[in-house]
Amino acid sequence: MTITDTQPQALNFECETGNYHTFCPISCVAWLYQKIEDSFFLVIGTKTCGYFLQNAMGVMIFAEPRYAMAELEEGDISAQLNDYEELKRLCVQIKRDRNPSVIVWIGTCTTEIIKMDLEGLAPKLEAEIGIPIVVARANGLDYAFTQGEDTVLAAMVNRCPDKAPVAETEQEERNAISKLLNFGRKKEEVAASESEYVEHPPLVLFGSLPDPVVTQLTLELKKQGIKVSGWLPAKRYTELPVIEEGYYVSGVNPFLSRTATTFMRRRKCKLIGAPFPIGPDGTRAWIEKICSVFGIEPKGLDEREAQIWESLEDYVKLVRGKSVFFMGDNLLEISLARFLIRCGMTCPEIGIPYMDKRYQGAELALLEKTCQEMGVPLPTIVEKPDNYNQIQRIKDQGVDLVITGMAHANPLEARGINTKWSVEFTFAQIHGFTNARDILELVTRPLRRNNSLKDLGWDKLVKEEAKV
């Protein structure tokens, strides 16, 4: 978990002004409500929050999402209305209309500033209306974009059942129907596969991934004889994994440091600090680290990784020798940079909203090692970047590809600079061996597109030198 002993040349960490563009962390409801099928997300905030979600989620809004705003009015701000009564009225309505298994309250900047005691109100209301209420303070005062998921999952860690029999039966009751439906299949599966696993302490993985990716990663570990006892979050709130003291946990995404901390401190779990399974190199290192913790000799990883790299060659050819600049907005930057450097790119700067050197320790070490092996200079990691300064640096350095938010993408393209919209990396499937190609598909898209346009002489499309 600590940073590995410093190499002759160490990574350079800087911190700027924090004037950068990113999504508000409440955006996590967009993917979490789809992941946790029986949940309902209630964002307690203002019109500003609602407007952001409405525009950021685009067409999803029209699909009757299981999320809503509890829009605060002037009476709520000045405490003329009673918070508890107001929330109760809305939650009862949600219960009536949607009957979810959990309501997640997302606290926002406004609830922070007016100090609305959501954590205090939730247990009372939960008891009164009989639906679990999980509170996550995913606000723009404290967090950026994907960290929203971190606050929600950290809150859910506390709701995972321990093995106490009461909780177990309760959960079984809730699951009665799905158990009934799956009964035959599950039993068979368990009986058939139990022998394929090596004896090891229970392992729970955390991080919200699309179901196909969950299956892929689970099977990848199964090949090594490692059994995944549970996943946070599961498909349904009622299926949250059992967590006991001494369980091992491992994160699949780089932005989950609060969740990791909560597992260790509140549930007394052991954290396997590994690089994240992004790119074939990352996936391999992730598996190796988990194997090493359980004392397992990994099998066939060499071939598997080599095979993936071979299949990527047509894309790798396009990026080899080119440079990439991360402006930073979603915390995936370190892992993506590490993978792209392994693909043969150089990377002068990795902007990142927040850098947890402990949680990302193994990933940082792998980044450093990758740079040395590929013979490229170590990037500067800029925490809380300043977009204005970054654009000056991009102009000075003349990079081949900028990974950035939508606010800057079109203006940079108009100035002849290739860009890739960073948010796509959060929504695309990028984990494991199988999806390495998808990452390169995204990264090479602007290069492939601009290749076909390059003889037209249309690369600079602004008249005067632009202002920011």
Binding site: T46, Y67, G140, N410
Partner: protein, 508 residues
């Protein structure tokens, strides 16, 4: 608190930012937490801006909560002033900063001492006004600021332009088809022999605001943005303004006649009647369309209209007055302007709906089962669900509503565009009859979803076959009406006879 899934008008600061970033060389600094700069994404994506959106954030974080912004806001203003030398920096409060109740006015005054450009605090209350009202107010505020500044310096130009001239007020970034409308209005003014003095805020420089009084009059094409500024100029300089939206043939003519009256009162000698006549009969195709067989087939078709007050009112009049379409209800989300809207449309529709609740609007659409909807993107999706075509006529809008091709809603070319939009939304015309006569394109197709599953009534084989022959877009309605008819009369099995009896009884 209220439970909300969707809003038609954005929060106040969006309005301020739209006006500020429409001007040339004006920078807005939001006093807001991280992530509230979503406006930049919208502007860059929706209107495909080539330039960086001149909006930055002075980030409100934990430290600001604990100690106040202190030097931060002032530093950010002076920094931006030094980096980009904007003419004006507009400090924009957000919902967050309004509850922090920091003395932003004080920050502005301090920053003004060090800045070369001007610094202004947008005067909007987040909990009382929405995007549109805030935009209107901010435009007026900026106009007033520069008029007063020029007056103080004695730089206000005296007198009017030699020839009749106009200021076009209210064209802004992210406005629905605003750039096309602006081109069309300039073209119209040129045809009328009127010089365009200034267009604000889009593309304008704040240095030119002092020239506003030189125009003979102001034209405010949109109800939502520009009226406050026009009223201010009227009070200060006795400048008349025209606030008739030239959308549709009749309204365009009305707008032009009003312009004629105003400039003639100031000594011009204009007669636009021939121009109006020529345009109406021979240039614009809309009048001819109303007369054509195609439009005849639209007679009495049911439509509903919903949007901002400008567009909803104008489209309602076009549908009803110029095309003979039956507007069952017309509605707007501009609650603050409800009286004006009611007065404008009540004689052209059966019912007026003033509501910001998209659920209520969706229900109202389902209730009347119109043949076409004219609304916002939200209504388009309601239409999809109900299988009713929808033409988008107002914000909120998506990227497809920022077309690259020339598509004004205003002026004479606008009338042509409206004809296409309306006609294509109905998609019927002769096809409608042909389908009815020949029993639809594909008679093997399954009838409306869940025809017998959730119905307590039996449809006999021949009844179903007849129902199948009815064109898809009215089939659901016919089915419901027939079932209602059968239920009222205690008929258990619906045969072809019952279907036609129902049709005769209720005109299903």
């Amino acid at each position: 608190m209220k439970l909300a899934y969707w809003m038609y008008a954005g929060p106040a600061h969006i309005g301020t930012l739209r006006v500020a970033s429409s001007f040339k060389n004006v920078h807005a600094i939001m006093h807001a937490p991280l992530g509230d700069d979503y406006f930049n994404v919208m502007r860059s994506m929706l209107s495909r801006e080539r330039d960086f959106t001149p909006v930055t954030t002075s980030v409100v974080d934990r430290n600001v909560l604990a100690r106040g912004s202190q030097e931060k806001v002032v530093d950010n203003i002076t920094r931006k002033d030094a980096e980009e030398h904007p003419d004006l920096i507009v400090l924009t409060p957000t919902c967050t900063s309004s509850i922090l109740q920091e003395d932003l006015e004080n920050f502005v005054q301090r920053a003004q001492l060090e800045s070369k450009g001007d610094v202004l605090l947008a005067d909007v209350n987040h909990y009382r006004v929405n995007e549109l009202q805030a935009a209107d107010r901010t435009l007026q505020q900026i106009v007033q600021f520069y008029i007063e500044k020029a007056r103080k310096k004695g730089e206000l130009p005296a007198g009017k332009t030699e020839k009749p001239s106009v200021n076009i007020i209210g064209i802004s970034t992210l406005g629905f088809h605003n750039n096309h409308d602006c081109t069309e209005l300039k073209r119209l003014m040129a045809d009328l022999g009127i010089e365009v003095n200034e267009v604000i805020p889009e593309g304008a420089s704040v240095h030119n605001l002092k020239n506003l009084p030189k125009a003979w009059f102001n034209l405010v094409p949109y109800r939502e943005l520009g009226l406050m500024a026009a009223n201010y100029l009227q009070q200060e300089f006795d400048m008349p303004f025209v606030d008739i939206t030239p959308m549709g043939v009749v309204e365009t003519a009305r707008c032009i006649r009003k312009i004629q009256e105003i400039i003639n009162a100031q000594g011009a000698n204009a007669d636009y009647e021939d121009f109006i006549n020529e345009q109406t009969l021979h240039v614009s195709q809309a009048a001819w369309f109303s007369r054509s067989i195609d439009c005849q087939n639209l007679t009495g078709k049911k439509a509903v209209v919903y949007g901002d007050s400008t567009h909803a009112a104008a489209i309602t009049k076009v549908l009803s007055r110029e095309m003979g379409i039956h507007v069952v209800w017309a509605g707007t989300f501009c609650k603050y302007d409800a009286d004006w809207f009611r007065e404008q449309v009540s004689e052209y529709c059966d019912e007026v709906i003033i509501s910001e609740d998209h659920g209520a609007i969706g229900d109202a659409i389902a209730r009347v089962e119109p043949s076409a909807i004219f609304g916002t993107q939200m209504e388009r999706h309601v239409g999809k669900r109900l299988d009713i075509p929808c033409g988008v006529i107002s914000a909120p809008i998506h990227i497809q509503n920022f077309p690259i091709g020339y598509k004004p809603f205003l002026g004479y070319e606008g009338t042509n565009q409206l004809v296409d939009l309306i006609y294509n939304s109905f998609t019927l015309g002769m096809e409608d009859h042909l389908l009815e006569i020949f029993g639809g394109h594909d008679t093997k197709e399954v009838i409306t979803k869940g025809v017998s599953a959730d119905s307590d009534l039996n449809w006999s084989k021949d009844g179903l076959a007849e129902l199948n022959k009815i064109p898809g877009f009215v089939r659901g309605k016919v089915k419901r009406n027939t079932e209602k008819f059968a239920r009222e009369r205690g008929i258990e099995s619906i045969t072809a006879e019952v279907l036609y009896a129902a049709k005769e009884a209720v005109g299903a």
